[in-house]
Amino acid sequence: MPRLNDYPAYQVLRDPAKCTNCRACEVQCANGVHRFSEKTGAMVADEDKCVNCHRCVAFCPTRALRIERNEPAFRSNANWSSDQILNIYRQADTGGVLLSSMGNPGGGKVYFDHILLNASQVTNPSIDPLREPMETRTHLGKKPNRIERDENGDIRPNLTPGLTLSTPILFSAMSYGSISLNAHKALAEAAQALGTYYNTGEGGLHKDFYEYGEHTIVQVASGRFGVHKGYLNAGAAIEIKMGQGAKPGIGGHLPGSKIVGDVSRTRMIPEGSDAISPAPHHDIYSIEDLRQLIDSLKSATGGKKPILVKIAAVHNIAAIASGIARSGADIITIDGYRGGTGAAPTCIRDNVGIPIELALAAVDTRLREEGIRGEVSLIASGSIRSSADVVKAIALGADAVSIGTAALLALGCHLCRSCQTGNCNWGIATQRPELTKRLDPAAGAQRLIHLITAWTHEIKEMMGGMGINSIEALCGNRLMLRGLGLNETELSVLGIKHAGQ
């Protein structure tokens, strides 16, 4: 039987007139695509191995390289795409579950792209952020139900612990193990410099990073990797990971090949053993169990740390969030179906869950209908691609957003969606020392700082245009949004009017 899926996904196009045989591409490619042929005296490429990460293109000093998609010329069929045909060949070859990385790349509707923002004209003035204060400082946490006064009649500050962000953008949970130590270091340094937070993900906290604790959210997931009292108290907040937008309803699996050295120590599991996070938390089979875990974590930290609960956007999200809001959580992170992952079964990533825009709007509406929106803050993620997405998410009802893919892109990721191979040429989703050293944490942190600074400038411009000079007056301000090309049901779930209305 010939290999039926023997179609390289990409073509490596090399301009022989430009190529100097410097072999930089060969050095850069951990997948072993490029090689110098003594026979022909020229560089050749093994295209089967190419993942289109653009590392060689970026490093080619003479710009001799170009990568193109190699579309197999199957007989055209509107129902059976070439991807689907090739997937069947792959599974018939191997009998395995198809794996994918990063977010769902499918062409489904991106609601953010069907939402437009408002601006002031005549009846009220727009505000110029270069001339007037424009505030993006954000507080995440519970609001008090009642004010209290002391014996002198002065207000007694009765706020429970929360998080304060200089701008409403956090870095999403990405574990040490799924990404490299240098990637974590870049995120931690950037979070500290920016006055926001990064999230350890479920892989524990490397001993060198306790110093960034004030800007760290430590995660507790179903595998409980690296969780101990010192860890819980090291961060500014604790996130209980119940689900992830890319793979709702299933757990995680970090292959033993990535459980090496410090990853093994930080996760508190033996080197080379697979790190398997169960699908559910085995101590949480219902909402009352979640409450107990929240209480336990609060006890373990003396009630000093706010508790986040991260959930994947699924069909019944509004009711689930309402239950969580009544269970002592301070912040809910909702991760949409386009959220990223280091590895997930393709069938799950591409078919399970709902878009963040609809989930967020439904949750915000429900919590308000029940009068409990002040019990929790909402963080939206999966996927936030630009400052405009941030503004739209906040106007739909989020208090803040978190970004994972966008942050990795800033670090050099080219979205080749091959994280699960562990051969990340950009030194991000790998533990191979010769690759991780390619990512300079200081330079990476600077790029992250640039990105968030740029977005914050843009957010201020958009706010100013709307005549809003403080981010809290944007939160849930759906009158600032209009839909374009959306039907009545979509508009009703989003709680917005159509453009022109």
């Binding site: 400082r137 002065d154 005549g467 000079n469 944007l474």
Partner: protein, 368 residues
């Protein structure tokens, strides 16, 4: 499109007079003041609030109602009778004025809650009354309570404010405090309820501006049982102040610190105690922050507050003469009724100017 079906931004003029000694001021004075700013209105809304105008019924809630027709009146009166003891009822006296057309039926009721109904509701008296008002306004077709406080009353209509004053014969009323409003809406309101002041219980608001935080504020207060039926800024501002002062128990100055909160950069420069207080208020009530241009006058029992947005994007001038406090969109509107003033100043953005009856000040201190 009727008011309440579409959101209508407005430009405006406002004016207010307050006698700290509690001297009765004739309604004609406030009409003269607002009339000077004729060009700041466009004939599509004007109104007044007077405090201390019903001394003979000062312990009863004075309900002012608009009815579209006799059926609405009959239904609403049945509702009122089920929930209140109606001490007195009458048409509100008006006179014919050329500029005022399409007047609804305008009635006034002095009421007290029926004791057994109040007891059954398990609410305090003011919450009971507020709930009844909100219910009529959101559920009873063609009936609208536009004034519901004790010893105070709102008078409003579609027209220029001086015409509205003449229509309601305001020269026949005297009170220690008056506020007035001339409206410049960018759409034609079909319903008189959309004119200012907007009032709930004894709290009334006149407002000049268009707030950009409207939907954030609306969705916040609607969590607490309010229903923003008119889609006007003034309505949501009135509900915010009612929520913050009556339901949360904030002082009016503290409520001003919430809706026109100082910038964080300002808060951080303050002494620790004040910094902590303002940080708390801003954080605890972040959804009640109002952005965009506004100048508002908030009338309440025994007091008046004038407040600008934090950038002072709308003009507002304050003045004093003897025991009298004046405030208006333009200084000329004050000078026209009181040419010689002891002091004139422009309050800074976000700086609340609060005046109270001298008799009530001591009480306020005692209450802490």
């Amino acid at each position: 499109m009727l008011e309440g079906q579409v959101r209508i931004p407005s430009g405006c003029a406002i004016s207010g007079i307050f006698s700290k000694a509690g001297r009765p001021i004739n309604g004609e004075r406030i009409v003269r003041s607002i009339a000077l700013m004729h060009d700041r209105s466009n004939g599509l809304g004007g109104g007044f609030a007077g405090y201390g105008i019903y001394p003979e019924y000062k312990n009863d809630y004075a309900f002012h109602l608009f009815y579209e027709d006799a059926t609405a009146k009959k239904d609403c009166e049945a509702f009122l009778e089920r929930h209140f003891d109606i001490v007195n009822l009458s048409k509100i006296p008006t006179r014919q004025v050329a500029g005022i057309v399409d007047a609804p039926l305008i009635w006034r009721y002095f009421v007290t809650p029926l004791p057994h109904k109040l007891a059954d509701s398990q609410l305090n008296e003011r919450e009971y009354v507020a709930k009844c008002v909100i219910r009529i306004n959101s559920e009873m077709q063609g009936a609208y309570v536009f004034s519901s406080g004790k010893n105070m009353g709102v008078f409003k209509a579609v027209g220029y404010p001086e015409e509205v004053g003449e229509f309601y014969r305001l020269e026949e009323y005297e009170g220690y405090c008056w506020t007035a409003h001339g409206r410049y809406p960018t759409n034609t309101p079909g319903w008189w309820g959309g004119a200012h002041p907007f009032a709930l219980l004894d709290l009334s608001v006149v407002h000049n501006g268009e707030i950009s935080s409207y939907d954030t504020n609306r969705r916040f207060v609607e969590m607490f049982g309010y229903k923003c039926n008119l889609l006007t800024d003034t309505e949501v501002i009135a509900y915010l102040f009612d929520y913050l002062t009556r339901k949360q128990g904030l002082r009016i100055e503290e409520a001003a610190n919430v809706v026109a909160a100082p910038f964080w950069s300002t808060i951080e420069r303050l002494a620790p105690k004040e910094r902590e207080r303002l940080s708390y208020l801003r954080t605890a009530f972040s959804s009640a922050l109002i952005t965009g241009p506004f100048s508002i006058l908030v009338g309440f029992e025994g007091g008046l507050m004038a407040l600008n947005d934090r950038l002072k994007l709308r003009s507002m001038v304050a003045a004093e003469k003897g025991d009298c406090f004046y405030v208006a969109s333009e200084e000329s509107a004050i000078r026209t009724i009181e040419p010689e003033l002891d002091r004139v100043w422009a309050p800074r953005g976000g700086e609340a100017v609060v005046v109270r009856l001298e008799t009530q000040k001591e009480e306020a201190v005692c209450r802490g």
